[in-house]
């Protein structure tokens, strides 16, 4: 309903276009680029600067950076999206129950969430990933769990706010069951906050995945990942700075797009930002 407003600001529009472009790349690249294009080693052109044959240059093994960065988009977006989805799937019911039921349930759940929030998210993700053994699936789980407390907190706050709105009380006296109350009246009204938070979480998840992979506790070779590419570039920085710049720019553009779109969404959807129209 208010969604189109997010596209009206130039920030929202640029953000949306960026996100859309990267999403398209993430989906289409693995379909049209043969997988060996990213692993093919051109031994005569190791650490080659951008040329006609390799528009974004090559890495230390002579692999084409353009193909790798395009295919890396898929890994990053896939992990980030799955992790955020996971944190929503866990955090949404937790937050809703905590905010709606209240009392002891709320006290216990929120105490737990507060405790988890004392762990730096990246540390939590790294520990979980190390414990489970680093691979693609466990990276998703690690980031997903690490992000859940944030989301649960925000959803609880929203649920608390919405549950005491007169329209929810009116809906109670209109004979709605608790389930219907939550599904029809509370959930739709906390969705704007969930959408905004998810967009921002996606941005953070991309950064977290890059960080985990950079440390070798995330995506593992031979999967292409932006974090791994930056990690590999460390030893060749002065000879071939583009090996770091190319994946770095990819991360930055993606996160920037998500943040811009998230900001615009918040301005358009956040009930607290919408006040004071008179």
């Amino acid at each position: 309903m208010k969604l189109p407003a997010a596209f009206r600001s130039s920030k929202g529009l640029i953000g949306a276009v960026l996100v859309l472009m990267i999403l398209l790349v993430a989906i289409i690249a693995p379909l049209v680029i043969p997988p060996d294009m990213a692993t093919q080693m051109d031994m005569r052109a190791r650490l080659s600067p951008p040329t006609l044959a390799h528009p974004l240059g090559t890495d230390q093994l002579g692999r084409d950076l353009m193909y790798r960065v395009l295919l890396g988009a898929h890994t990053s977006i896939y992990i980030a999206t799955a992790a955020v989805l996971m944190s929503i799937v866990i955090g949404l019911p937790l937050g809703l129950i905590s905010g709606y039921v209240g009392k002891t349930t709320d006290n216990i759940l929120m105490r737990l969430v507060d405790t988890l929030l004392a762990f730096p998210a990246l540390l939590l993700a790294l520990t979980i990933s190390a414990v489970l053994g680093p691979n693609l699936q466990n990276t998703i789980i690690a980031i997903g769990i690490a992000f859940t407390p944030f989301l649960a907190r925000i959803i609880r706050g929203e649920a608390l706010r919405v549950a005491q709105m007169p329209y929810v009380e009116a809906a109670r006296t209109a004979g709605n069951s608790d389930t219907r109350l939550i599904v029809r009246h509370i959930l739709p009204n906390i969705m704007p906050a969930v959408i905004v938070q998810s967009t921002i979480s996606l941005a953070f998840a991309i950064l977290a995945e890059a960080g985990l992979s950079f440390l070798g506790l995330g995506t593992q070779p031979p999967d292409a990942s932006w974090g791994l590419m930056i990690q590999a570039s460390r030893d060749y920085l002065d000879r071939a700075p583009w090996t770091a710049l190319v994946p770095g720019a990819a991360v930055a553009l993606t996160v920037l797009g998500l943040n811009m779109f998230g900001d615009a969404l918040r301005d358009a959807l956040d009930p607290r930002a919408r006040k004071g129209a008179t």
Partner: protein, 607 residues
């Protein structure tokens, strides 16, 4: 300055705001003047541009994204007449707080929460008068005495949150008066205050005006306040001046239809004297509403509230355990007859809303009985309450913008109770919804709309339609018209009275507005600190108030009649004590004296 020349003269003022799709006009074309020492009231409903006009005079509109797009704002300074509209920012800083003082609507947020009162009162003095801190402090003390704040020395050291709303507004006024301005702009200074505090603040402003000879530009939406305060009145509507004139003339002989309509919509305290039943208001340009609201010859009780008590725990500590109780409702009993309206009146925090919410069990009462048609509501479990309790009683809430789900179509919101209670389905459901829209006088085309497409009054009509859907025996209206502009308020009140006469619904009408209550109620209960201090028929309570609190409440209500000035300087109301008590505190029961049949007055040692 020659005698008779104006202090301020506003000529063809036009103010625009930046909008997403080009400029939005806040004030289109307004001209009026203010003479030294007079009070000019600018009155209008929301969106009339009255506040924008006053902010323009201080050139504060610019900070809100506005721009003075045309016209002159001439202000007579000692050094000559200055057009404020294109004065230098530096000159404006010299004028603000020095030659023109201003007070605002929200006393709770008007003071900087992290600075002491002293710091906030003295910085203007040091700036404009170049006083030393100790001299500025002495002057601040003098000002606090002038606005009659108790214990002024102590107040200087305090932070705003330690003061009550009324005291904060006095501090803001003292601050505005610091440099003895020639003009005081008051922008809805009492709208957020309770009626007794409003009376004190109005009296204070009036006294300061007389003592210092300053002029006052008073912005308000309340015709009753206008009648009490104004020498001259400016009526505004949608950014334009409608009518201007001396206060008596505006009230007795208004020229413009809009002014007439505005005045007709204002209930006047005392105008129901001698009338046996509530009466709908006669609104200009509308056919009179027919409603027979005479009480039944043999009244049948519908709702019986017995010894209702509601306490909220105040939680604290690591484990968020209760550490004290707010005694919101304390041993309250009353009866509402079928087809009648009982009004609960009182100031904020008196427990009237908690009482209404407890009856519907939106808030769980601590003890007491609520019988609706002899069925005990309190004894019901959640399921029975949902299946049967709310089938017979519904609620209409205060804030029209919060009482409808923004993500549901209007017809679905009205349909919910019908479907949940199995009252209608299929094509019958559609018909019922359409009829309900007819009842609340909204076009059927609104059925597919979303709440944000409606005005406040229209939303409140939908809220009433939703409550009406189950054919309830009782509707609890919690400040249901308080957030509406006065003309819309009158229409919604008339609608409620019409529905009452048509369907025989009983109302529990919760309100802080004595004049509205007098208009709509059969019986009245006055609440103070959780207790019902006086209850009786409308005539008994309004024409023969017995409890001291009822009397002071009545004396504080401004009357929309300039010939009946109720603003007096000797007003000194007792501040309302805190309703928070330690755990286990058990105050005594409410005991009443029956001064006349059905007219009960609380024995006073209990409050």
């Amino acid at each position: 300055m020659p005698d008779g020349s104006p202090l301020v003269s506003i000529d063809n003022l036009r103010v625009e705001f930046r909008g997403e799709d080009g400029p939005i006009v806040g004030v289109e074309d307004v001209s009026f003047s203010i003479k030294p020492g007079e009070t000019v009231c600018v009155v209008g409903e929301s969106g009339s541009g009255k506040s924008v006009t006053s902010l323009s005079l201080m050139r504060l509109v610019e900070f809100g994204g506005g721009r003075i797009a045309g016209g002159k704002l001439e202000f007579a300074r000692d050094s000559g007449v200055l057009d404020v509209a294109d004065a230098d920012p530096e000159i404006m800083q010299q004028i603000r707080g020095n030659e023109i003082g201003m007070i605002f609507q929200e006393p709770m947020t008007s003071l900087n929460p992290v600075f002491t009162v002293e710091r906030q009162m003295t910085d203007g003095l040091r700036l404009h008068r170049g006083l030393s801190q100790s001299k500025a402090r002495a002057r601040a003390l003098e000002l606090l005495k002038q606005v009659r704040i108790p214990e002024p020395e102590r107040r200087l050291k305090q932070y705003p949150h330690e003061l009550s709303g009324g005291m904060r507004q006095r501090v803001v006024i003292a601050m505005a008066m610091a440099c003895e301005p020639r003009l005081l702009i008051a922008d809805e200074p009492t709208t957020a205050l309770d009626v007794t505090i409003q009376a004190e603040i109005l009296a204070l402003i009036d006294r300061l005006k007389r003592e210092t000879g300053m002029a006052v530009l008073f912005i308000t939406h309340d015709m009753a306040v206008v009648a009490q305060m104004a020498d001259r009145v400016v009526v505004m509507f949608r950014g334009n001046l409608v009518e201007e004139g001396p206060v008596e003339q505006i009230f007795t002989n208004p020229q413009q239809d809009y002014t007439k309509a505005l005045l007709a919509a204002v209930p006047r305290l005392g105008e129901m004297r001698g009338k046996p039943a509530p009466e709908p208001m006669r609104l200009v340009g509308q056919s009179p509403v027919e409603a027979d609201l005479k009480p039944a010859r043999k009244p049948e009780p519908l709702l019986e509230v017995q010894n209702l008590t509601t306490r909220y725990p105040v939680k604290g500590g690591v484990f968020r355990r209760p550490v004290a109780n707010v005694h919101a409702v304390e041993d309250v009993s009353f009866t509402i007859n079928k087809g009648e309206t009982l009004a609960l009146v009182g100031e904020s925090g008196c427990g009237k809303s908690s009482c209404g919410r407890s009856i519907l069990r939106l808030t769980e009462p601590t003890s007491g009985k609520v019988l609706l048609d002899r069925t005990d509501i309190i004894a019901m479990n959640d399921r029975d309450l949902r299946r049967r309790g709310w089938r017979d009683m519904q609620m209409v809430f205060q804030d029209p913008f919060a009482s409808l789900n923004p993500y549901m179509r209007l017809k679905d919101q009205v349909a919910e109770p019908l479907m949940n209670y199995g009252l209608a389905s299929g094509s019958e459901l559609k018909d019922r919804i359409a009829t309900l829209f007819d009842h609340v006088e909204l076009p059927r085309s609104f059925m597919t709309r979303f709440p944000h497409e409606l005005s406040g009054g229209q939303r409140q009509r939908i809220a009433i339609a939703r409550a009406l859907a189950v054919n309830p025996k009782l509707i609890v209206a919690d400040e249901a018209v308080s957030a509406l502009d006065v003309s819309v308020q009158a229409q919604v009140l008339n609608l409620m009275m019409e529905l009452q006469s048509e369907f025989g619904i009983s109302f529990l009408f919760i309100s802080h507005d004595m004049a509205v209550v007098e208009r709509v109620s059969h019986r009245v209960g006055v609440m103070y600190l959780g207790r019902l201090v006086e209850t009786g028929s409308r005539a008994q309570v309004f024409e023969n108030p017995q409890h001291s609190y009822t009397r002071s409440l009545m004396s504080a209500v401004p009357v929309a009649d300039p010939t009946r000035k109720t603003i007096r300087d000797d007003l000194n109301f007792r501040p309302i004590p805190s309703p928070v008590f330690p755990l286990g505190h058990e105050p005594g029961p409410s005991e009443y004296t029956e001064v006349a049949p059905g007219h009960l007055v609380l024995k006073d040692n209990k409050t």
